[in-house]
């Protein structure tokens, strides 16, 4: 077992062999990947050492102290948080060797082609078709809410390969080349004014069978790995006290006494307490993970943060009074990064509306908690034994 001391020794060796001050950024990241210090819980040869995941913090702390460049993880959140664990679990040896290294160092950014106009909460009803043609698949359909598609080199894609079986059984998981001439990315403008998302039109996109992930027809199971990691990524951020949306409101309250009213004070205190308690719940969840006793609390974190972000940012706009009537900028832009707490109160308020929709709506997540955590009966199903082609749409 690789322990903390061993990781510190290897990190020191990496830093000695490739001094950050005199090494090209990408060269350093490649060297870090090749010495297994990229994500230490991954296997040897794929950027890791098969070490406990919690020990990554040891490596990160040493590298940060030495001024080493990082892999700009926020630029490739879908790649790192969702595509990588899925490739690791279901990819062939060739696929893992081909994709994980450029993904981790950030040379190749990934996006996710899952949701469709007709398949939102009911993702398994998706209609994008993939038809076998020799050694290739020909893909036609439309995807939506695709964050970062305009920057992405690759996409994880689920498509229907068999319309004659019930919906969950006829899906296959692919890796899609975003430079294929049949891929058209159009910005999708949202209520904030910017276009963080895209619509992606797929017209006769040719995907070699070697870019299939998992078995034909097994795509739904493969996608569960992706989706479970998404919810961890969205709800699991570590925060100091006042670290989230509550921070700017508390700051405005302290600095601008002229804005204070008794009503706002009561509401602010209630939300401040709720934000602090949600932070403690997140901290407890992390302590459970480190202790090797993962609990079901993770299922609730995203629900809690979605509601809090919405209520807190709504309070902030109201607190600002006259200024709350203004908005910083409605210009259509295509941001490279998404920052929920970035920009001004009006943006935060509007952007937070998406928190209870993206990555599973709060209503679906409440069903998941009720069924998987509390063991209550599942929703009645009318689509389980019906071929996908015969479903109502």
């Amino acid at each position: 077992m690789t322990d903390a001391a061993e990781l510190q020794r290897r990190t020191a060796e990496l830093l000695a062999a490739h001094p950050p001050a005199t090494t090209d950024r990408l060269d350093f990241l490649k060297a870090r990947f090749d010495t297994g210090l990229a994500w230490v819980h991954y296997p040897e040869g794929l950027g890791g050492l098969g070490a406990p995941r919690a020990l990554q913090a040891v490596v990160d702390a040493e590298l940060e102290a030495a001024g080493a460049p990082d892999n700009a993880p926020r630029r490739n959140g879908i790649g790192l948080g969702m595509a990588a664990p899925t490739i690791l679990k279901y990819g062939t040896e060739e696929q893992k060797q081909r994709y994980l290294r450029p993904l981790w160092i950030g040379e190749e950014v990934w996006c996710q082609l899952f949701s469709e106009p007709g398949a939102g909460s009911d993702l398994a009803a998706l209609g994008t078709r993939a038809v076998r043609d020799g050694d290739d698949w020909i893909v036609n359909g439309q995807k939506v809410w695709t964050s970062g598609a305009h920057n992405a080199r690759w996409a994880i894609l689920i498509a229907r390969t068999d319309p004659d079986v019930p919906k969950h059984a006829g899906i296959t998981y692919f890796i899609c080349d975003m430079t294929d001439p049949g891929v058209e990315v159009r910005p999708l403008r949202q209520i904030t004014g910017e276009a963080e998302f895209n619509e992606v039109f797929l017209t006769d996109v040719r995907i070699p069978d070697s870019r299939r992930l998992g078995a034909v027809g097994d795509g739904w199971r493969v996608a569960q790995t992706t989706l479970n990691n998404e919810r961890v990524a969205i709800g699991g951020m570590r925060l100091p006290r006042e670290g989230g949306m509550i921070g700017p409101v508390a700051k405005a309250w302290r600095e601008r006494p002229e804005l204070r009213t008794h009503d706002l004070h009561q509401r602010l205190l209630k939300l401040w307490v709720e934000a602090e308690v949600a932070r403690l719940t997140g901290e407890r969840l992390r302590q459970q993970l480190v202790a090797g006793q993962p609990g079901p609390e993770g299922a609730g974190m995203k629900l809690a943060f979605a509601r809090l972000n919405q209520e807190i940012s709504g309070l902030e706009v109201e607190l600002l009074g006259e200024e709350g009537l203004l908005y910083d900028d409605w210009t259509l832009r295509r941001p490279e990064l998404v920052d929920f707490t970035g920009r001004e109160a009006g943006y935060r308020y509007l952007r937070a509306k998406g928190n209870s929709i993206e990555g599973g709506t709060s209503e679906i997540l409440l069903n998941i908690v009720a069924e998987r955590v509390l063991g209550l009966p599942a929703e009645p199903r009318t689509d389980k034994d019906v071929a996908w082609k015969d479903l109502a749409r």
Partner: protein
């Protein structure tokens, strides 16, 4: 770093307390006792205090206690909340004990720690930490006056009474007139304490002792409230899986599933807040904020859990026979005990610099 988990020893302690309460505090027995002349289950108290030594958890070994911390006390209180046990644990082993620890009174500490005596701080249950509290007159070494709303006073052997000279005095319960008040929560009954020239022994200054006692009481009450909320959620989920209407288990209706999932979220949050308060009390770090946050959050959740349990059990939940009313009454009384959530939010405002207009 705050430790929000339970240790193996704490889980073992929980299992032992749960076993003991299963033997002593079954629901029909607790309901019957609320209508009797003996509201406290002194057999259960003896088993907890004398048999298991739990009354002395907060008292150092040198003073006759177990030398444990608020973390273990919190685990005991979770279990007591789960069974709405009518024992004076919070009153004697936490609140009175903390007051005596502040005063440094070895003799009484030893008696309370061993369970030989039950101590009660004669401050109304509704008083929040750091707020004013009534005191009685001191005349030529004896105490005169009346104090109301004193929880568990009828079970007390010794009362800790604030007097107008700023001192905290020990009074033998047999020297006081204790008049039970008909209480919303009959499992933590209130009484009026009347002193008519009662002999008293000065223990120390009342203000710091009462502040410390009520702060611990408030912080650890959150663990009792968590235990209560968890019982209400677990029992309601169990019942709704069994109960059938419209040819389906009632728990399969989405309107009810979402309410229970929401309650689960709140309960999970409450556990984190309560563990944080218990750990802060144990380590002495960030105590005031941790206690105020826990008590700002705990009462509404415990009450919501009990109220949802009643509504989702529907008709049977309205009956005297079903124990839900014990939990509802305890949760409602707890929402006033040691300061309301609103009072604790005001404390948060002071502590973190979010001043009122």
């Amino acid at each position: 770093m705050t430790d929000l988990l339970y240790s193996e020893e704490e889980e073992a302690l929980r299992a032992a307390v749960r076993d003991l309460l299963a033997d002593h505090c079954d629901a029909p027995g607790v309901i019957a006792r609320t209508e009797s002349d003996a509201p406290h289950d002194l057999a259960a108290w003896k088993a907890l205090a004398d048999g298991m030594g739990l009354a002395g958890l907060l008292v150092p070994e040198a003073q006759g206690g177990q030398g444990a911390t608020h973390r273990e006390v919190a685990v005991v209180l979770e279990e007591l909340g789960r069974s709405v046990a009518p024992v004076p644990y919070l009153s004697s082993a936490v609140v009175a004990t903390e007051a005596l620890l502040e005063c440094g009174d070895e003799e009484l500490l030893g008696q309370l720690a061993s369970g030989r005596a039950i101590g009660v701080l004669a401050v109304g249950l509704h008083r929040a930490p750091g707020t004013a509290f009534p005191a009685v007159r001191l005349e030529s070494g004896t105490l005169h006056g009346e104090l109301t709303g004193i929880a568990d006073a009828v079970a007390a052997d010794v009362l800790l009474v604030p007097a107008e000279d700023g001192g905290l005095y020990a009074v033998d319960a047999s020297d006081a007139a204790l008049t039970p008040q008909v209480s919303l929560d009959a499992t933590r009954p209130l009484a009026t304490v009347t002193l008519n020239g009662a002999r008293a022994r000065r223990l120390g200054d009342a203000e710091p002792a009462v502040r410390r006692a009520l702060r611990s009481g408030a912080g650890l009450l959150a663990s009792e409230q968590f235990g209560l909320a968890e019982w209400a959620l677990t029992e309601t989920v169990r019942y709704l899986k069994e109960r059938k209407q419209f040819n389906r288990p009632v728990g399969g209706f989405q309107a009810l599933k979402h309410r229970l999932a929401q309650l689960w979220l709140e309960t999970v949050n409450l556990r984190a807040a309560a563990r944080n308060a218990a750990d802060a009390l144990a380590t002495g770090e960030d105590v005031d904020v941790a206690v105020a946050v826990a008590q700002s959050y705990a009462a509404p959740v415990a009450l919501h859990a009990a109220e949802e349990a009643l509504q989702l059990h529907a008709g049977i939940g309205m009956t005297w026979e079903h124990p839900i009313h014990l939990y509802l009454k305890r949760a409602k009384a707890d929402s006033i005990a040691y300061g309301t959530a609103g009072a604790h939010r005001c404390a948060v405002a002071e502590l973190v610099g979010l001043q009122a207009p």
